[in-house]
């Protein structure tokens, strides 16, 4: 009903391709084919013509890339200029008079096309790009009618006069998602330029010159090259040379719907290009304000899990977790679940039950789940998996700035002069943002990386300075406070900004604290492992930059001092005046797609939607009126506390939507014990996830393709999710939650998620102006969106902080309890890689596994050598909490004394070794620091084998009668 269909969606972006990128500047007026056109200075003649509705034929130009001027199809005549200049490389001038169509131009263009076509296989009717090929279109546009060249040397035929054709290169099918068929290549270089300019990977080059020129990865094939499968080259290719395999298999799409990627917090906009209700391909949407037409391998290609055979499509129940699952109707499953909840509450009190919302589900779904807890179950026991990643962001930014959100939009990166990246690995974790940042670095912005590991960003070709502060895991606060020390003692702070925007007394207190010699880089060098001089240089660089921006990730938050680190970051931004305009700010990079939204929507046990404490009478009253119930003013239990309470026998039933706490939460043994102690565990998910082995009710979930709703990305952007096919299990997730609430007697009657958003807007001031109509009109909107900001807010704290005066807070370093010693001499830190997503439930069920079939342990050559470990060996990884086995990769990306792994595969069970230490303020688990020992082993640990056996046992499904 709300679907937004782009009429000419078959061709998607290609129809609206303006040829060259948009420029900004004073207007210049010229005449094209007798029409007056005004465009910004610096615009190409080609783009000016397109603005006037005239399409000049072109092959090598596309508006995602700078003009290149190689094909000469776009020639025009310009009065007073000699010859026929290429319109893509010729900038407009005031008063220019341009002709785009003359006899001479027609002749020239036909000549160009004739040459291309003479070396092109003419199998259009059976070509994968038939109907979606720019070469075909251009042949039509220039009126090509015959080709006068006799067959000769070519790249097309497999055989030549005598024997095999030496110029013919067979198709490369090594990439699971697209192929490269060199016989169709017209060497327009769009792919090479896309890989450089848009993606920043430089995986493609051109081999040979002139007629011999061929595109190459410089390696044996795409899979074994530097290519990260972002798809930018495929999108840029005007022919079927680089083409999605799904288009080859299914055919060209016939309509498309704009929606939002469900993987990471960048929140890229895509066109879901469809044939009927079959998804043909996902193409990044150029109007998408987070991604500006770019994508990464996950959003672009890794959606096959939506059709995976492992998906559970029927509700299932069982009395005991050792029983086989029984498939039942929705009604029976919901009644069974509701009875479990009611029984627990009758016997153990209303606070013996709770819910967990998901940062993968929509805002509307999350809102309903926390409403289910607060209004229907009558308890504030609601929490979210965002607890385990960004809860310290919420605390730290609320204390200092007054609201729990990043301050900028992603476009802001285009104006950054110095980027500080702390505990984040954007090229893997937030790839499209990573590409946008790299682009800025190539333009000369400086880079400071604070991370134990040498991340890929540091290897990026760039013009400016690059600093790496390779700190010991767990010493973030000491490093950032030392940066503050340098800025304070060397007088590099922005006094005018502080006086105008912050509390001067608090600043004076903080300055005195930071200036203490105990916080100098020299004093903390031994603790942090960061050379004092390097730290001083970095602090000076950040303070001196006209625009300094901090981007940070889970390496900041997942520590016992996570909240303190966020405060330290906010302090740095305030003291240097880097807040409140484009190009600066404090930017948390959120892990999952809707971490921001799930926090905004009141998932936390102590906060109602909009970050208002449950003890806030006004806020509570608003909801009491809207919902017609009385709400509890006391905070509820957080996830770890729910599990503790379960082990203690006080917590009996839980509804978990779209979240796999057994795999994603630390200290797996403790989580398992908590779940096992409950009487009714309701899991609502796409797959029988790891948590489901302890479940009594399984409700089948819906993918983002099967429902309407919104996700809020890391820049507070509320992006639309649009249904392109019916829910495969019958109910969209919001409908299932509503049905469960109604089985508990709620009497809800939402007919569309837009009504849930209207309720959010009525009750939550920062969302007061948000409606689905506004989102349809604007494409997306950034909160706060209300009377003061009817179009939303790209940059926050523009004229003053949300809380009034910005607040400086002391940041004393407190060592984590997790310390290395003789038994556990190494520090383990964890992270993620590009092709897999979080616990990997989706990405593991796609071809992305060709890039990451298993989790590996990265270890420094020195530490490996003393343990006799060679690359690829099975090693045992043990901590105080447990042990697991995986294979080793030897690399000097990690410092001696530090080991690193990802946690994408359940067989690895990396969280068996992480401990239950957590952030002091929010109990966000300390994933990033665990003291471990590593030694050779001969294969999977006993726990892993036991676990695999148990998996089989707890996943049995009885055939339905």
């Amino acid at each position: 009903m709300k679907d937004f269909i782009i009429p000419d969606g078959v061709h998607g972006p290609k129809l609206s391709d303006m040829g060259t990128p948009e420029k900004s500047g004073p207007p210049v007026t010229l005449v094209i084919d007798g029409m007056d056109v005004s465009v910004p200075e610096g615009t190409s003649v080609m783009r000016a013509a397109a603005e006037a509705g005239i399409t000049v034929p072109k092959l090598c130009a596309t508006d995602m890339l700078d003009a290149y001027g190689s094909c000469r199809l776009c020639v025009v005549e310009i009065e007073g200029m000699r010859g026929t200049p290429a319109s893509c490389t010729t900038p407009v001038r005031e008063g220019m008079v341009v002709k785009t169509q003359t006899d001479q131009l027609t002749r020239l263009r036909r000549g160009v096309m004739e040459l291309y076509i003479s070396d092109h296989p003419l199998d259009c009717l059976t070509c994968a790009a038939n109907g979606d090929c720019e070469l075909q279109d251009m042949a039509g546009a220039v009126g090509l009618r015959d080709v006068r060249y006799a067959p000769g040397e070519n790249h097309v035929e497999t055989r030549a006069a005598e024997g095999a054709n030496p110029l013919y290169i067979p198709r490369d099918d090594s990439n699971p998602y697209f192929f490269y068929d060199p016989s169709k290549c017209i060497v327009c270089m769009r792919c090479v330029r896309a890989c450089e300019e848009v993606q920043g990977t430089f995986a493609l080059t051109v081999d040979g010159r002139g007629f011999d020129a061929r595109i190459s990865t410089g390696t044996e094939d795409f899979l074994n090259s530097d290519c990260v499968s972002c798809g930018a080259c495929v999108q840029a290719c005007p022919t079927a040379t680089l083409q999605e395999k799904t288009v080859d298999e299914i055919g060209v799409p016939e309509h498309s719907v704009v929606t939002t990627c469900a993987y990471c917090g960048v929140g890229c906009s895509f066109e879901a290009q469809m044939r009927g209700d079959q998804l043909v391909r996902m193409v990044p949407w150029k109007e998408g304000k987070a991604n500006r037409g770019h994508s990464c391998v996950k959003g672009r290609f890794a959606w096959g899990y939506a059709n995976h055979g492992d998906r559970i499509l029927n509700p299932m129940i069982r009395d005991s977790i050792t029983d086989a699952w029984r498939e039942v109707s929705w009604e029976e499953a919901l009644e069974f679940a509701a009875n479990g909840i009611k029984r627990a509450q009758a016997k153990h009190g209303k606070d013996s039950v709770g819910v967990i919302t998901s940062s993968r589900c929509t805002n509307e779904e999350t809102f309903l789940v926390q409403k289910l807890a607060r209004a229907v179950m009558g308890t504030n026991n609601t929490d979210t998996c965002a607890r385990v990643c960004h809860s310290p962001t919420g605390y730290g930014l609320k204390q200092t700035f007054g609201t729990s959100a990043g301050t900028q939009d992603f476009d802001s990166v285009e104006q950054v002069d110095c980027a500080v990246v702390i505990g984040a690995n954007p090229t893997d974790g937030h790839p499209v943002f990573g590409s946008r940042l790299r682009k800025r670095l190539r333009q000369g912005a400086k880079l400071i990386v604070v991370d134990p590991r040498r991340i890929d960003l540091l290897e990026t070709p760039h013009m400016g300075e690059g600093h790496h502060l390779p700190l010991r895991p767990g010493t973030n606060v000491a490093v950032l406070t030392a940066m503050a020390h340098v800025i304070v003692t060397e007088g590099l702070f922005d006094e005018a900004f502080i006086r105008e925007r912050c509390d001067w007394d608090e600043w004076s207190d903080y300055a005195e604290f930071a200036a203490d010699p105990a916080h100098s880089p020299e004093a903390v060098e031994e603790l942090t492992g960061v050379p004092a001089e390097a730290l001083r240089q970095a602090a000076r660089t950040y303070a001196a930059a006209p625009n300094g921006a901090i981007y940070y990730g889970l390496g900041v938050t997942e520590h016992s001092q996570g909240s303190t680190t966020v405060i330290a970051i906010a302090n740095l931004a305030m003291m240097t005046g880097n807040i409140g305009r484009p190009g600066v700010g404090v930017n948390p990079l959120r892990g999952q797609n809707n971490v921001q939204g799930s926090c905004d929507m009141g998932s936390f046990p102590h906060e109602l939607p909009g970050y208002r404490h449950v003890s806030d009478d006004t806020a509570r009253h608003g909801f009491e009126v809207e919902w017609g119930v009385t709400l509890d003013p006391e905070p509820g239990l957080r996830i770890p506390n729910m599990l503790d309470a379960a082990v203690a026998g006080d917590f009996k039933a839980i509804y978990i939507q779209g979240e796999d706490i057994l795999q994603s939460d630390p200290d797996t043994h403790h989580v398992a014990a908590g779940l096992a102690a409950m009487e009714c565990v309701i899991v609502h998910d796409l797959f029988l996830n790891e948590t489901a082995r302890y479940a009594h009710v399984f409700l089948p979930g819906s993918t983002f393709l099967e429902k309407d709703g919104t996700f809020t990305n890391a820049e507070r952007r509320i992006n639309p999710v649009r249904k392109v096919m019916a829910p495969k299990a019958g109910l969209a997730d919001w409908e299932a939650t509503q049905a469960l609430a109604n089985a508990l007697g709620a009497g809800w009657s939402y007919t569309h998620p837009s009504e849930i958003m209207d309720e959010i807007a009525r009750t939550t001031p920062a969302f007061a102006g948000v409606t689905y109509d506004l989102i349809d009109q604007m494409g997306s909107v950034q909160w706060p969106c209300n009377d003061a900001h009817p179009q939303g807010s790209p940059v926050m704290h523009e004229d003053g902080f949300v809380r009034g005066a910005g607040r400086f807070i002391r940041t004393a370093y407190v060592a984590t309890e997790e310390r290395t010693g003789p038994r556990f001499p190494l520090l383990l830190t964890t992270g993620r890689i590009l092709s897999q997503y979080n616990v990997g439930a989706q990405t593991r069920r796609t071809e992305n596994s060709v890039w990451h079939a298993e989790d590996r342990l990265e270890i420094h050559p020195h530490d490996a050598e003393t343990r006799g470990i060679r690359d690829g060996d099975w090693v045992r990884l043990a901590s105080r909490a447990g042990e697991t086995s995986l294979r080793a990769t030897i690399t000097d990306r990690v410092s001696p004394g530090v080991v690193y792994t990802t946690f994408h595969h359940p067989d690895t069970q990396a969280n068996v070794v992480t401990t239950d230490n957590s952030d002091w303020a929010t109990n966000c688990p300390e994933y990033k620091v665990t003291a471990v020992q590593v030694g050779l082993s001969n294969g999977p640990s006993d726990w892993q084998e036991l676990y695999t056996a148990q998996t089989k046992l707890t996943r049995r499904v009885e055939a339905a009668e």
Partner: protein, 70 residues
């Protein structure tokens, strides 16, 4: 929940506030009241005299709200 674990959490909170200006024990009590569920505070208060507590937590005890509900 195990009281020892709650004590650990309380001590961690105290370690943050001990470096802050102002009324530190009040800040510790405030943080606990705002973030801990009533059952957690209940368990904690009941066991407090047997737990190994940071001096600031001890000073905060009188201000930690006992649950007002049945």
């Amino acid at each position: 929940m195990k009281p020892e674990k709650l004590a650990g959490m309380a001590n961690q909170i105290a370690q943050f506030f001990e470096s802050q200006p102002g009324d530190q024990s009040h800040a510790v009590a405030d943080h606990i009241n705002a973030n801990w569920a009533p059952t957690m505070r209940d368990t904690f208060l009941a066991a407090a005299d047997k737990l190994d507590l940071h001096p600031l937590v001890k000073a905060a005890l009188p201000e930690i709200r006992a649950p007002q509900r049945g």
